[in-house]
Amino acid sequence: MMRFRARVYVMLKQTVLDPQGSAVLRALGDLGYDGIHDVRIGKIVDLSVQAEDPDEARAKVEEIAKRLLANPVLEEFSVFLEPDAAQGV
């Protein structure tokens, strides 16, 4: 068994208005920054996962993201995976 570090990014779908992002965008305008066209705010979830191999780890995390971490009505997610160097095999 190997241990992996998984990072799940959960973001509102592009088609869903993000009121928090819009408020931050306006605040950046107030601070005098121009050239910022869009701000989107999401969540990061870090998991430590034990699995036989990267494929199994990824499948597990994707299932978890689908079932709980993201709401498919509003959100989309992406999974990034790397071996956990510190805790190894």
Binding site: P19, A23, V73, L74
Partner: protein, 233 residues
């Protein structure tokens, strides 16, 4: 007529619901702990408002996975009445018993005030004692009441008449300007396809006893349930 009010960790309108129901002649009510699975003695399950599991991850997301929710889903499938109020509505959405999802209010603030809603359907088990098109006043208190569904779902809700309550002005005009939280089509409450699961953001239990000073417009909703259940006996 037996009601069950589900108590999740972080529910805070459970006692209000319990009292409002107990105050209605002919109604029995008990609490249901979120870890309980046996709800076979109940005629109507109420998922109350509050902040179940601290609203962690998303409002209602963790509560939707509670043991009791499996029983509630079975109960709903068999035609039992399920009423989700505020956080209870959010839980029904997360559990997939109603379509759509809640976004943060468009104001980005917690909104706590009386609003007017129009009764779009007076032919449901929850609204039969209202008049079709009646404008009633109920309080809302939430951060995430900005109802969202994709266009297809929204069209289906509208064409099949499943929007039961809509935010409006005192005359029943439901324009965006009278929507407190940005909800699509001013949606304040929807019902499932078979007409036995209702979710709404306003709090009928907070306007069920005139002595509390918030009117009694919500009482009719609870009484409609009893009326419906009595008729079925």
């Amino acid at each position: 007529m037996k009601f069950g009010v589900v108590v999740f960790p972080g529910s805070n309108c459970d006692a209000d619901c319990y009292n409002a129901i107990a105050d209605i002649p002919g109604a029995q009510v008990r609490y249901v702990w979120h870890k309980d699975r046996d709800i076979s003695d109940l005629d109507c399950v109420v998922l109350p408002g509050g902040f179940s599991y601290g609203d962690y991850l998303r409002t209602g997301a963790i509560a939707a996975l509670s043991p009791v929710m499996e029983s509630v889903a079975d109960f709903a499938k068999r035609g039992g009445l399920v009423l989700g109020i505020c956080n209870g509505f959010q839980i029904l959405l997360e559990a997939g018993l109603l379509p759509g999802a809640m976004r943060r209010n468009s104001t980005l603030t917690f909104i706590c005030k009386d609003v007017y809603v129009k009764v779009e359907r007076a032919d449901t088990p929850f609204t039969s004692l209202y008049r079709q098109g009646q404008v009633i006043k109920m309080p809302i208190a939430h951060s995430d009441g900005n109802y969202y569904a994709d266009q297809k779902t929204l069209d289906a809700l509208e064409t099949t008449g499943r929007v039961v309550f809509r935010y409006c002005d005192t005359e029943g005009l439901a324009t965006a300007e009278h929507c407190p939280n940005g909800a699509m089509n001013n949606i304040a409450g929807i019902i499932n396809e078979s007409g036995n699961v209702l979710g709404l953001m306003p709090h009928p239990e907070r306007c069920s006893e005139g002595v509390l000073g918030s009117g009694e417009d919500g009482r009719m909703l609870l009484m409609s349930c009893i009326h419906h259940l009595n008729r079925g006996r």
